[in-house]
């Protein structure tokens, strides 16, 4: 029985090229299907059970690396990429096979030879290596903070970058978002914001105030001895509550 293969790449010209090259290089291989994204690749591979799957790394839906994780132990996987510095480094350390676009030449011949010798055998356990790939930065599952605030402005939903925001201030049921240009009200409470925002980006200086650290121009003491924060591009001063004065101790 002829070996079978599946090609997954979101760019049609790239699929055409790989198919053509494989036909030249390995006429016995039958390409049973082509997939245009990661989801399709996993579905078709489950259905058609090809011996080999060629996976592009960057694909819509799910990436080639995630797709490989879902397919591991079921077929031999070859990654195809034009440029993925982290992935290539990771591949070079291990046995996972990969091809660089444009695919062709001796590199493809080597891969085909390797695949020929492996087809029919149980695929290698690539789980461990995939784990390293995932950890190596090809896919980043790191904790992420809120970087955009959504606010209703007129009829549109405006996205305000946290870098533009000077401070947040609780205003009864709402929260006031102050930028250099103006202010908007959002429904999110200050407590929710404090949990989602990067604590190094915004400091809570008062029960009702979160201030952007970069926007602080000066910290002064008023006549009553309270610490006041002056924010750039803004006239009003913000009070620091007694419990939070430690934030500015070393300044």
């Amino acid at each position: 029985m002829n070996p079978t293969a599946l090609i997954a790449d979101d760019e049609e010209p790239m699929r055409d090229m790989l198919r053509k090259r494989l036909q030249d290089c390995w006429p016995a291989l039958s390409i049973v299907a082509e997939a245009a994204n990661g989801v399709e690749a996993v579905a078709l591979a489950g259905q058609l059970r090809p011996d080999i799957v060629f996976l592009d790394i960057r694909m819509p839906g799910i990436s080639g690396i995630e797709a490989a994780r879902l397919l591991f132990n079921r077929c031999h996987i070859v990654f195809v990429t034009a440029y993925d510095q982290y992935a290539i480094e990771a591949f070079e350390q291990g046995a996972l096979d990969y091809l660089l676009k444009p695919v062709g030449g001796e590199r493809l011949t080597t891969t085909v030879a390797r695949l020929k010798s492996r087809v029919g055998r149980q695929p290698d356990d690539i789980e461990r290596q995939l784990g390293r790939l995932l950890a190596g930065g090809a896919v980043k599952p790191a904790r992420s903070y809120l970087h955009w605030i959504q606010a209703q402005v007129g009829n549109s939903l405006r996205m305000i970058s946290t870098r533009e925001i000077l401070f947040f201030r609780a205003d009864e049921k709402y929260t006031r978002v102050q930028t250099a240009q103006g202010e908007v009200l959002i429904r999110k409470t200050l407590k929710e914001l404090a949990e989602e925002l990067d604590p190094d980006e915004f400091w809570r200086i008062h029960r009702s105030t979160l201030v952007r650290v970069d926007a602080i121009a000066a910290v002064t003491r008023d006549l009553r001895g309270r610490q006041m924060v002056r924010v750039r591009h803004f006239a009003e001063e913000l009070e620091v509550s007694r419990g939070n004065t430690h934030l500015f101790q070393q300044m």
């Binding site: 819509p60 440029y83 992420s144 970087h147 970058s161």
Partner: protein, 302 residues
């Protein structure tokens, strides 16, 4: 009345004379403070030569030399430092602004040519050379146009126009359409009279690349991108809208958008802004609003 008027006239004339004399004296003093000693010595020699002719009396020439020498030695250094400090302070403001602007521009341009884009496009050209050489030649040309306007070393100095920026983006979008095929639809709507309008380099391109990279490429069925420019009064708006997956509120602001915002602030202060919106029907809408001076020499649209 007449007497008073002429009296005031004489008084005004005298005051003016005094002011001119004082300003001339200070100009001379500034010159003296800043002139190098070698040049001053040459002036003395010239004065001495003149003193030998009947034009100038040798006593005056000698007095000039002595006074200027004394002034130069006693007060020249201090005065010179004062003048230099004043000039430096005046320049410092604009200089640091210019430096920050140049730095921001360089960062934008360097961040732009993404290796991923470059390698994928080169791979596409390699493939097309075999299957469709005329198309390969077209994509190749688009890539050259794109690199010419994008690589910092290649970019010519001076401000860009909206027309130039649109042309660059057309090249980029043509390449992306060749790669994404039916998954990418593009429409560009820019009135011809706006093409000559001043528009900072790489801003439109950053918005378009964001739309493709974060909105449309990750969307399985792809989508469309609409670029529109319009002017109302003294404001111009350039809008990039896509119907992609929209962007995550947890995604970082990115080098690109921060850079656009920073440069707009440096170039136009509060008169320009970058707005990002999520339309009700999904996707993303980015809008640059900046001051616009109608070009009276531009041909009006038909």
């Amino acid at each position: 009345m007449r007497m008073a008027a002429s009296g005031a006239g004489v008084f005004g004339f005298l005051r003016e004379l005094g002011e001119t004399a004082s300003s001339l004296w200070w100009q001379f003093f500034d010159w003296l403070a800043q002139v190098p000693f070698r040049q001053l010595v040459v002036t003395w020699v010239l004065a001495l030569l003149l003193a030998c002719t009947p034009v100038l009396l040798p006593k005056q020439a000698l007095a000039f030399i002595l006074i200027s020498c004394g002034l130069k030695v006693l007060a020249g250094g201090k005065r010179k430092a004062e003048i230099e400090a004043r000039e430096a302070a005046a320049h410092a403001g604009t200089e640091s602004m210019e430096r920050r602007l140049v730095e921001a521009q360089m960062a934008a341009l360097q961040a732009q040519v993404e290796p991923h884009f470059l390698f994928n496009t080169l791979a596409l050209i390699g493939q097309l050379i075999e299957t469709d050489p005329p198309q390969a030649a077209r994509i190749h040309e688009h890539l050259i146009d794109y690199l010419r306007s994008t690589l910092p070393q290649m970019r010519s100095r001076g401000g860009g126009t909206l027309g130039r920026q649109i042309a660059l983006s057309r090249s980029y979008l043509a390449i992306m359409q060749a790669r994404m095929k039916a998954r990418l639809a593009v429409s560009i709507d820019v009135p011809p009279e706006l093409e000559s309008a001043t528009f900072p380099p790489m801003m439109l391109q950053i918005l378009i690349e964001n739309s493709i990279k974060h909105g449309l490429e990750p969307k399985i069925e792809g989508g469309r991108i609409d670029i529109r420019a319009r002017a109302t009064g003294s404001t111009m708006e350039v809008e990039v809208r896509d119907d992609g997956i929209g962007f995550s509120r947890y995604a970082g602001d990115g080098v690109g958008l921060t850079n656009v915002r920073e440069r707009l602030k440096l170039l136009y202060g509060a008169r320009a802004e970058l707005l990002i919106e999520t339309p009700a029907d999904g996707g993303c809408r980015a809008l640059i609003r900046l001051p616009f001076t109608p070009d009276i020499f531009a041909k009006a649209g038909p």
